[in-house]
């Protein structure tokens, strides 16, 4: 499972001709450290990193917020049409991403005509479409449903309101699910290539995935060593985030979620 990563790191130090040497060389004969320097300078990566981090963090936090609120409503509140509404919300997961690109693009363009900071080529365009997700609601609803009703009754008896119940009891008990959602959302957004490419034209707004594309040649002349070096430093933040939430993530998979 680690092999692709090992290969990526190994290739990042190779010269172009050694990349395709057969039999494959796991340890390069010469270490081309300058691949990293060259890759870093080939595109405005500092800015791209800044943008990727800002956008991915904003989307992750926004998604956690909206999904937690919605999941709480679907899981622990009773109101007419609740289940039907949830099913409709869930069915939106069946719409292929490609079908929403054009309508979203048009919407942003029209919004931009009304007020520029909401239009194309803005942080709003990069962040807003992803602030809510059906997947997040689904995941968190499952987790919130596990909280026993007795807990809720006891809390109400002690005078705890709904918001406080959500914030102080439900969320801390659902850390594994929240960590999982955070990780998936961050990773998904970090890896997002097509949407940032389509809605931005300015280099000051673009993300690291577009930076990676610079190394992939059109008719076969890709610079593999540089590409791998860039891939190494582009994947670093995701690895860091994973390490941060690792404990909760593993717990989330392993446990049933009940803390009694």
């Amino acid at each position: 499972m680690i092999m692709p990563f090992v290969w990526m790191i190994s290739t990042s130090f190779k010269s172009q001709s050694e990349v395709f040497a057969y039999p494959p060389q796991w340890i390069p004969t010469e270490f081309h450290w300058q691949n990293y320097v060259q890759a870093w300078n080939a595109a405005p990566f500092p800015r791209y990193f800044f943008n990727s981090v800002v956008v991915a963090l904003a989307v992750t936090l926004g998604d956690l917020f909206t999904s937690a609120l919605a999941a709480y409503a679907f899981a622990r509140m009773k109101f007419p049409g609740r289940d039907a509404l949830f099913l409709i919300y869930l069915s939106s997961l069946m719409i292929p991403h490609q079908m929403t690109i054009l309508p979203s693009f048009l919407l942003l363009k029209n919004l931009g005509d009304l007020w520029a900071p909401l239009g194309l080529d803005t942080y709003f365009a990069l962040i807003a479409p992803f602030l809510a997700s059906a997947f997040g609601v689904f995941l968190l609803r499952q987790s919130f449903m596990q909280i026993p009703n007795e807990l809720e009754d006891a809390a109400i008896l002690d005078g705890c309101g709904r918001a406080r119940f959500l914030w102080e009891i439900v969320i801390p008990l659902s850390r594994p699910a929240l960590a999982t959602l955070a990780l998936f959302t961050f990773m998904g957004n970090w890896n997002s290539y097509l949407w940032p490419l389509i809605v931005t034209n300015s280099d000051t707004l673009r993300t690291v995935q577009i930076g990676l594309r610079y190394f992939i040649g059109q008719e076969g002349a890709s610079q593999w060593g540089l590409l791998m070096a860039a891939a190494v430093f582009v994947s670093l933040p995701v690895v860091l985030i994973y390490l941060m939430v690792q404990r909760q993530f593993v717990q989330g998979i392993a446990s049933t979620g009940i803390k009694q």
């Binding site: 500092p46 000051t204 610079y214 040649g217």
Partner: protein, 448 residues
Amino acid sequence: MTLKKILLISMLAMIVLAACATPTAEAPKPTVAPPTAPVAAPTTSAPTAVAATPAPAQKTKITFWYALSGAQGKVVEDMTAKFNQTSKTAQVEVVFQGSYADIAQKLTAAITAKTVPDVAQMGGAPTLGESGAIVPVADLVSDADKKDIFDGFWDYNKFNGKVVSMPFNNSTPMLYYNKDLFTAAGLDPNKPPTTWDELVTAAKALTKDTNGDGKPDQWGFNTHTDTHWYLSAMIMQNGGKILSDDGKKVIYNSPEGIEALQFWGDLVTKNKVMPPNQHAQAGADFTAGKLGMLMRSSTFLATVEKDAKFKVGVAILPGKKIKSVPIGGASLLVFKTTAERQKAAWEFVQWMTNAENSLSLFIQTNYVPIRKSVAGLPAVKDFIAKSPNSEVLIKQLEFASAIPIFFELGNSDEQLRKAVEKVELGSGTAKDALDVAASVINKALGGP
């Protein structure tokens, strides 16, 4: 907990560092060695380029979207920077838009939302001919240019018989061969095969089993993964056609086409000079010295000459009834905006495709020159002296032909690749494979 804190702090540090790095990053445009830009000139900076820089009086600002990455992308950006310095009337903002597939999607969205650029570089450009969003090049080009650019390139940019886009970066398939392996096999390294039969003879001599295990370790011939291109070339070399003259159906399942596919299949099954269905490996095999001859795009020349440890030879594709070399690559499109911007856009397109720049593009990227006048420029002779293989790229242009661009071309190419796979693996005859491919595409085109 401390590990978590360390990680959190390092993430924040990265953000802070990145944010601090940004204001001082002087070149928001990706360049490795900024070639010319004198400090004061307002070059192709990103739109956040501060309004304080004194823009030369009333240059029309236009945007140019392109889809070349790596070294080729840099050449395009450098050329644009040079235009911005020499032009007194136009200022071009150049934006990278991913691959040909990405820019096609982006242009489709832009046309619908009416946020089109002024000039765009795109593969398969004629498919936008019907969109109503472009100004056909036929309406803009001068007679002198019409005569100077090879006919094959004009054909490549036609939609419904009218030229709509301007040829820009084009490539052709070539026959690469390993001169050292030729010598070792007793073949003359300066006489590469020029006909299909000579190709088979040479390939047979080059296929060797060097370690005695009964399987060849060195193959005589192979092609890169875009097998549809080479098959189309062979069909045309045999006198066949891809698309009918009225553009309504594909006709590669003609006897000439079937003969071509049969020849291809025989290379694998009968003559045993090509490994079945191993095209992804072909380039690497050739560079590593384990393949005698390779059919691949002319853009591979610079890479292979740099990486190979043997003498690389390059030849025009062998012919059968005729010599025919299909064109690939992308073109420039001019979009309908305002009269003033269209004028600036055309000025830019003309500049990018004039003889000097066509030659410069050729020298730096091996995209073939599109003009007859390029062959006469003095710089050409110097370049050929330094890189003799590039002369072949120029010599073949008289045989350049265009596979017509039609809406189902992408699917058609895929069907051809499937047909090739079938005959290589022996799971179908050439006739059946091509009949299937043709019927699928013709149904999609709305015919019988």
